[in-house]
């Protein structure tokens, strides 16, 4: 198994070799090939910008051409019509493209799936329409000629190529930094689970919006470069086919990597320029590439390559699987390790700071109602939890327990009633802000980031309530305090040996455990646990109970449980919900003795 350092060294060496090759070789190319290389670099920037958006952020945009075209036209018009100096033209081009993304983002980012596709497409199409009709400015469908490059020396492609190569390297490096940064990790988290991200402290809309605007800016950069390369702009740059081609480049190369889209761009640009000069109906071949890529290479060139690579390295992978054993902390898959002492140690600091808040209730719910149409899921529920309380919420299926948690964590808006956290009213506070105020939660149906590694899952939990989640210029791994805390948590739950494993490959038991530790990672003061033992075997449940009991005593816990025995184990106080209403509240003994509770659970006859 290669060490991380060694891998990084190999990667740096490969990149340097590529840069050297890119500097030395192309000037010896024939002019046509050099043009193709230059266009490939331009489209590579465009395709990479789209991939940051869709491959990392999960936002599949059909309108990336909009910002590309805005950059190209702004530059073209300023240079060709108004004879402005290039720095002004470039800045306006970048600015206009970015501003376009800022406007389109306001409309698009809150939408999802098909609506997102359609509105981004529509936005680009409006601009396409303008470019076609606003003849005085854009010269209509004929296109705008005479976009001269600055400085006589750059008129030759041989020299301009180096400028372009420099721009490409800087852009590629910047995008690489972006996707490895805490901000980029956040984007991937959002792609995997928006609800988890919200309750972990991320303003999901803002995060996506920032990404949308940044990607728009990179597309505009590609557009500016395009206008200088071709010295000619037509409405084609804004058209639906440009947006689609960018997407094809991403998929052909490999979604969710940055190398892939660059390769895809080179492949499509190369094929287009060479085939179209030999074949009359090259469009049909492009159509076939669309279909064949989707059907037979959905993971793209990079997917193929990495599968081949992995096949070669099988023995090393086996070794990798055995690594935890060497380190002495291999846990049986599916077994839960309470590691009680460790967990208490790592949660203690979170509650040490709130010494003076003992007078107010940690969580107060007053007359809370939630109706879905005519169904009253939660009906006039009032609950108070003092600091350090261990409150179990019991109730049969459909009692409104999870709805109650969704109301407290802010995923649902209540129909009426109030929720306060440490005396502050949070009824209208968005979920991420509630997380910042000290509220954490877990989910009944495991809600992790499945294709991210265990360590990345934990880091997302840690970053959620820290300002560093918006850092775009430094890799996550460079934040030492986050790394230390993550190491601490991973070791405490015995997942250190599996830190680089994708969470979806973890055993169910480990996933349930990770649910809780991720919530603890953001150092909550009030923690909502939604059926922590759901689906666990009897011994696993026992260990889970031990784990929860080991949590810091000043942490306020609300636990939804189906299983009365588990609830009685964990809680000092119990509330029972039935059909959305509060049926009973009391100590273990009181609830055990209550005949109404027995009726709900066991039916009248039994009682």
């Amino acid at each position: 198994m290669r060490s991380v350092v060694e891998q990084r060294r190999v990667r740096v060496a490969v990149i340097l070799a590529l840069i050297v090759a890119a500097v030395v070789v192309p000037p010896h190319f024939p002019p046509f090939l050099l043009t193709v290389v230059m266009l490939s670099l331009v489209y590579a920037i465009l395709a990479m910008s789209l991939d940051v958006l869709m491959g990392y952020g999960g936002m599949e945009s059909l309108g990336q051409a909009a910002f590309f075209g805005l950059g190209a036209y702004a530059l073209g018009i300023l240079v060709a019509r108004y004879h402005q100096a290039w720095p002004i033209a470039v800045l306006v081009g970048l600015g206009l493209g970015t501003a376009g993304a800022a406007i389109a983002g306001l409309l698009a980012v809150r939408l999802r799936g098909l609506f997102f596709l359609v509105i981004t497409l529509a936005f680009a199409q409006v601009l396409w329409g303008i470019a076609n009709r606003w003849g005085q400015m854009t010269n209509g469908y004929v296109g705008l000629r005479g976009i001269r490059r600055p400085y006589a020396g750059l008129e030759s492609d041989d020299n301009f190529y180096y400028v372009l190569l420099g721009v490409f390297i800087v852009a590629a490096f910047a995008m690489r930094r972006l996707v490895t940064s805490p901000f980029g990790l956040g984007l991937r988290g959002i792609r995997e689970s928006e609800s988890r991200m919200k309750t972990t402290g991320y303003n999901v809309w803002l995060h996506k919006y920032i990404a949308f605007v940044i990607c728009g800016a990179f597309a505009a950069l590609a557009g500016v470069a395009y206008a200088f390369v071709t010295e000619f702009v037509t409405p084609e740059v804004l058209s639906i086919t440009t947006s689609f081609d960018a997407m094809l480049m991403v998929i052909l190369g490999g979604v969710g990597t940055l190398v892939g889209p660059a390769l895809g761009a080179a492949a499509i640009v190369g094929l287009r320029n060479y085939l179209s000069s030999y074949i009359d109906h090259w469009i049909m071949i492009l159509g076939a590439i669309y279909i064949l890529t989707v059907l037979f290479a959905p993971k793209g060139i990079v997917g193929f390559a990495s599968r081949w690579w992995r096949r070669k390295e099988v023995p090393e992978e086996e070794e990798h699987a055995a690594v935890p054993a060497e380190k002495g902390d291999l846990r049986e898959p599916g077994r839960l390790e309470p590691a009680a002492a460790d967990l208490r140690a790592i949660t203690a600091e979170s509650t040490a700071t709130q010494g003076n808040s003992h007078k107010v209730a940690a969580l107060q719910i007053t007359n809370l109602r939630k109706a879905f149409g005519t169904i009253h899921a939660v009906e006039d529920v009032s609950i108070t939890a003092e600091v350090g309380a261990r409150l179990a919420i019991l109730g049969p299926n459909g009692a409104g327990k999870t709805t109650l948690f969704n109301l407290i964590s802010g995923l649902y808006k209540p129909s009426s009633g109030d929720i306060s956290l440490f005396g502050k009213r949070i009824t209208r506070v968005p979920p991420h802000a509630r997380a910042h105020m000290g509220l954490g939660r877990t989910f009944q149906i495991t809600n992790l980031y499945p294709t991210l590694t265990v360590a990345e899952n934990i880091r997302l939990g840690i970053l959620g309530t820290r300002g560093a989640r918006y850092v775009v210029h430094a890799p996550v791994s460079s934040l030492t305090s986050v790394s230390e805390r993550s190491t601490e948590l991973l070791k405490a739950i015995g997942l250190w040996g599996r830190r680089d494993m994708e969470v979806r490959h973890l055993s169910y038991g480990h996933q349930r455990q990770l649910e809780i530790v991720m919530a603890l990672a953001s150092e909550p003061k009030v923690l909502l646990l939604d059926e922590p033992a759901a689906g666990l075997s009897v011994p696993e449940t026992t260990r889970m109970v031990e784990l929860i009991r080991s949590l810091d005593p000043s942490l306020t816990l609300l636990i939804i449980e189906h299983d009365m025995d588990v609830a009685f184990e964990l809680a000092t106080e119990i509330v029972v919900l039935h059909n959305g209403r509060l049926l009973a509240r009391g100590t273990r003994e009181e609830i055990r003795a209550s005949s109404t509770v027995r009726d709900v659970y066991l039916g009248h006859a039994y009682a």
């Binding site: 799936g113 596709l117 303008i130 606003w134 469009i283 590439i289």
Partner: protein, 292 residues
């Protein structure tokens, strides 16, 4: 003739133009929204099916002079092409929106390039049948081309047929069941994959029907595949995904906005088409008739 009556006539023309376009757009969009509502497929090739049908209608009309034959032939070919695409490609990409979109983009490119290969790059405008040529008086205000009025009538007829088919037949019941809860429909023994093949072919047939009816009105030209697709997208977004009634209202709205917009603000026609859509999406993100 007074100034006001000229103005009245101008407005009558704008509204009638809008209704004609709206009618054609309804025939077009109803098939698009059907595929979307039932199968969750955004068929980017839909406009290309329309264009292919227009070329074929033109061709048949050139050869035989028979308008019904031209329209029927166009619709049949479109349905057949649609069925082929569904059976060979789309059925493997069940419920995968982005792959479906990309694949249908590929189909769109191939089908429209076929149009260029067989019929050249020139616009082909089909003649009107003799029994629908000339103009007809509308409420004594204006004389309006008979063929365009026929389109409006045909759209109403298509709308009624769809309504009866979907709301009053067993087959329509199965389709609606699939829209509501496909899994449940499957569980109740509905042969969903056969139903899907049928729905997609029917959706393509409507694209073809629109292509045939539109051949004398919009004509067949290079680039029509995306123009038409955009109209269909806007209508479906406005009307709500999968809603036929929504598509009807949105078609009329878009048709009238487009014709009034083009005659009053010729330079802003894309705004008059897309601005209302963006506004409505801001207020109702799932369209006018869409489910939240």
């Amino acid at each position: 003739m007074t100034a006001t009556s000229i103005e009245l006539q101008q407005w009558a023309f704008r509204i009638l133009d809008g209704l004609t376009l709206g009618g054609l757009l309804f025939v077009l969009a109803s098939g698009f929204t059907l595929a979307l509502g039932v199968m969750k497929i955004v068929n980017i090739a839909y406009g290309a099916f329309y264009l292919l049908a227009s070329y074929i209608a033109w061709d048949i009309f050139q050869r035989t002079g028979s308008f019904p034959l031209a329209v029927a032939g166009a619709a049949a070919v479109a349905a057949l092409v649609g069925l082929t695409v569904q059976q060979t490609v789309l059925r493997r990409l069940y419920l995968q929106p982005l792959p479906q979109i990309l694949v249908t983009m590929g189909v769109a490119l191939i089908v429209s390039e076929l149009g260029v290969i067989f019929w050249g790059g020139y616009p082909r405008v089909m003649g009107e049948p003799s029994w629908l040529s000339g103009a007809t008086s509308v409420f004594g205000i204006v004389f309006y081309p008979t063929y365009r009025l026929f389109i409006v009538g045909a759209a109403v007829a298509v709308g009624l047929c769809l309504w009866v088919l979907l709301e009053r037949t067993r087959l329509g019941g199965l389709v609606r069941a699939c829209v509501d809860d496909e899994e449940m429909a499957r569980g109740m023994g509905v042969n969903v994959s056969r139903l899907y093949a049928g729905v997609f072919a029917f959706s393509s047939l409507l694209a073809g029907l629109a292509g045939g009816l539109g051949a004398p009105f919009l004509g067949a030209y290079q680039g029509a595949e995306f123009d038409v697709l955009l109209y269909a997208l806007v209508i479906v977004v406005l009307g709500g995904l999968g809603s036929i009634a929504g598509a009807a209202v949105a078609s009329v709205v878009v048709g009238i906005l487009d014709s009034v917009g083009k005659s009053l603000f010729p330079d802003l026609s894309y705004f008059t088409l897309f601005a209302p859509m963006i506004l409505i999406l801001l207020v109702r993100p799932s369209g006018l008739w869409g489910r939240a």
